[in-house]
């Protein structure tokens, strides 16, 4: 009947570990547009609309992460009550105890799932004992939804917001499917007030939402997946088989890949939220245009860096403030080591985070002399200086990503060794000939990144003024184009593992 295989229908409702439901899959796009239709039907009924959204979100998480959906529900229930109890007492001591309880629950689960084996391995390595590794599967998105929930708890503790009265609102905040798997780590204080607003979508917002989804798919599938499978992975698999110039291009390529993969994901998440009437926080702001490492962290994974700034760095810095500069530096290094550790329990991420902590500390130490030097030679607003700063910052960041990407510390050293001692610049021509599409994508990717951001606004503006059918045709064309490039299987988003 109509060519539909009825036996396949149960597959739509059963989690399959080999084929999780992910953004970018055609099934997801189909289901999402079906959801949008329902959502619009119930546009004027807040209760029905939010019920549709919660149901779809739970279905989406179950299809992506299986029965861990129960853990997610438990997280939402307990944190709602922790928040309520904290807001309901004026006794500072009690408030503090509820905070500790909430931290113990949230961080306890995160540490158990994410770090148990790291610590067991550590115990074994330093031969204090001999323990068996645990057979643990990491619940999808746990690092993201734990931090989302903690922002609610911590903001109530810091009196930046009052707990919400409605369990439904808090539940929707936690399970909201667009950012459940890999962020942006939205703040409850910004998200909750949006839930009970009436749903209306201006043409401009619709155009922005569609543009973000299109850009996200292009970044992820046409750039990130392509250069990773065809070039970057090959070099990082065995760096010594390639010359230094190819290793360097792979390092730059990986910087672009990671950016396109993660910001592409964020664009899709922000775009689909916008179509559902929710504004999520920005996650990337042209990070490679940064003129210093601290500037980079105001532009890269903003939802995580601002989270750690507010809830880790600030309290640490204040408690160490009498150490003056040393206190600032200690707080910086600890915060960035935690940034690394948040990504995963491995020495590579720790080194990556530590490296950024050291960069930031050096930046702080040279801040004064640098300002004097720039003022003396009247360089503060110089364009050339700006370009040099961008170049240096980009290379420092790309260098740190070697440790982020390499499968082991030895591999990272091989990459660095090849670049320093086996550069062979003449091989560049062979690279361009041998990897022409990769080379073109690298150039285009960086070129688009460095175009003025106002251009993006102009394109969105033009798109928003188009006839809705023309918009639909362009959207379909982009999806078609993306599926043409789609390499065998959709590559999982890098940040899903964190």
């Amino acid at each position: 009947m109509f060519g539909i295989d009825l036996n396949k229908i149960p597959d739509l409702f059963l989690f399959s570990p080999d084929d999780p439901l992910l953004f970018g899959s055609s099934l997801f796009l189909f289901l999402f547009f079906a959801l949008l239709i329902f959502y619009r039907i119930f546009a004027n009924n807040t209760n029905a609309r939010n019920l549709v959204l919660i149901t779809f979100s739970l279905y989406f998480y179950y299809m992506a992460g299986g029965l861990f959906v129960l853990l997610l529900i438990l997280n939402a229930i307990l944190n709602f009550y922790f928040g309520k109890w904290m807001g309901g007492t004026s006794d500072d001591g009690k408030k503090r105890n509820f905070l500790l309880l909430a931290l113990l629950f949230n961080l306890g689960l995160l540490v158990y799932f994410k770090y148990s084996n790291f610590f067991i391995q550590l115990v074994n390595d330093i031969s204090v004992g001999q323990l068996d590794l645990l057979d643990i599967i990491l619940p999808l998105g746990i690092s993201f939804y734990t931090f989302k929930s903690l922002s609610y708890i911590l903001d109530i503790y810091l009196e930046a917001m009052n707990p919400t009265e409605r369990f439904r609102d808090y539940f929707l905040f936690v399970v909201f499917f667009p950012n459940i798997l890999a962020g942006p780590i939205d703040r409850a204080v910004k998200f909750l007030p949006q839930i009970n607003k009436s749903y209306s979508l201006s043409r401009k917002e619709m155009a922005m939402g569609l543009m973000l989804i299109m850009m996200g798919l292009i970044k992820k599938i046409m750039i990130a997946d392509y250069i990773s499978l065809n070039f970057v992975d090959r070099v990082f698999d065995s760096p010594i088989r390639f010359t230094g110039v190819e290793n360097l291009l792979a390092v730059y390529g990986y910087a672009l890949q990671l950016y396109c993969d993660f910001s592409g994901y964020s664009d899709i998440a922000i775009g689909i939220s916008l179509l559902l009437g929710f504004k999520l926080m920005e996650n990337f702001n042209y990070p490679f245009k940064a003129k210093s490492i601290s500037d980079f962290w105001r532009r890269w994974h903003i939802s995580l860096s601002s989270w750690l700034l507010d809830y880790v760095f600030r309290p640490l810095q204040l408690s160490l403030r009498n150490w003056r500069k040393a206190g600032n530096i200690t707080a910086l290094v600890i915060t960035f080591v935690l940034v690394g550790f948040w990504h995963g329990a491995s020495w590579a991420f720790l080194i990556w985070g530590l490296l950024h902590g050291i960069y930031m500390a050096i930046g702080l130490l040279v801040q004064g002399p640098k300002r004097k030097f720039y003022n003396k030679y009247n360089l503060t607003n110089s364009k050339i200086l700006g370009a040099v700063q961008i170049f240096i910052t980009f290379n420092l960041v790309a260098f740190s990503f070697i440790f982020f990407r390499a499968s082991s510390f030895e591999v990272a050293l091989e990459v660095i060794n090849q670049i320093l001692f086996f550069f062979k610049p003449a091989v560049f021509i062979q690279f361009v000939e041998g990897f022409t599409p990769t080379f073109i994508l690298l150039v285009l990717g960086f070129l688009f990144h460095f175009l003025p951001s106002s251009l993006n606004d102009k394109v969105t503006d033009v798109f928003s003024k188009m006839n809705i059918f023309v918009q639909a045709i362009i959207f379909t064309l982009v999806i078609w184009l993306v599926t043409q490039v789609l390499s065998a299987d959709l590559q999982p988003f890098i940040y899903f593992q964190f």
Partner: protein
Amino acid sequence: MISDRLKKIICDELYLDPSTIEINNQTEAPEVPGWDSLNHANIIVAIEKDYGVRFKGLEILKCNNVGALQNLVNSKVSD
């Protein structure tokens, strides 16, 4: 109202000329040139030193604008 004394401490710490800077109750740190997360602790230390008071970390974290900071200073000075 932000006292001239508090304003002067903030401006001195950030190398700003107080006559060119507008700071009122609603002003938030990022609106003042140079008042970033790294400088924040220095400004707090300068205020504590000048007024001879000591804040708790949590008290400062709860301040979301200069008005709140002024209130905190006032509450400590009048104690």
